[in-house]
């Protein structure tokens, strides 16, 4: 039993702990799952030229991003023995301390979940057209760049 149905990746604003809990709870009926690996990206209050980041404003090239997410998803299901996988990413303002990325990979045995989750996170950062504008308290900003 594998589940590959598409869903919206983008969520408006931060991803809440309650949303994550709901998502975990939905997997209790899938009793062929033995391992979940969950990656959460959280906005840091980095200091840049002595100014602290208070939030990141995320924007994306939606249509291309959805297509990329779909490709990443298909590739992971082809490569690893997964039961299911969910990716959620914020759009709009996410404050420091809040969660902007939620990757949730489930498999029978742990190695598949661990390998796939990490690979998916790397692919999202490198291949998906999303941009984060780091906002400072004085309303100035810089554009973040993944490394």
């Amino acid at each position: 039993m594998t589940e590959k149905k598409k869903h919206n990746v983008f969520l408006k604003g931060p991803i809440t702990p309650a949303y994550i809990a709901d998502s975990i709870a939905k997997h209790s009926g899938k009793t062929n799952i033995g391992a979940h690996d969950i990656f959460l990206g959280q906005v840091r209050n980095d200091l840049i030229d002595d100014k602290a980041v208070i939030a990141i404003d995320y924007s994306a090239y939606d249509e291309m991003a959805e297509q990329k997410f779909h490709e990443i998803r298909e590739a992971a299901f082809a490569k690893y023995n997964l039961v299911c996988m969910h990716i959620y990413h914020s759009l709009g303002l996410v404050k420091a301390g809040e969660i902007c990325l939620f990757v949730f990979v489930s498999s029978k045995h742990r190695n598949d979940a661990f390998d796939a989750c990490r690979e998916i996170v790397e692919q999202i950062k490198a291949e998906v057209p999303i941009w984060g504008k780091e906002i400072f308290a004085d309303e100035s900003h810089v554009w973040k760049e993944n490394r």
Binding site: M64, C100, L101, A126, I130, W131, G132, K133, W143
Partner: protein
Amino acid sequence: MEINLLVFGQLADITGKTELRISDVKNTDELNKKLAEQYPKWPAIKYRLAVNKKIVQDNTLLNDNDMVALLPPFSGG
């Protein structure tokens, strides 16, 4: 002949708009040249081009109503 241009991230800070119509550019090299002429502050930052949602590496012919996107370095996640 006109194309649709989508502008993202720091490049949109410069154009002031996220969507533009650009006329009389036969290929992506001409488009890049035109943008650099039009925007004096066109930055030294690298960007990639996507034509109809596919990233293109080399100079690429453009057709009427193509959707071209300017993609500065990604920073999702």
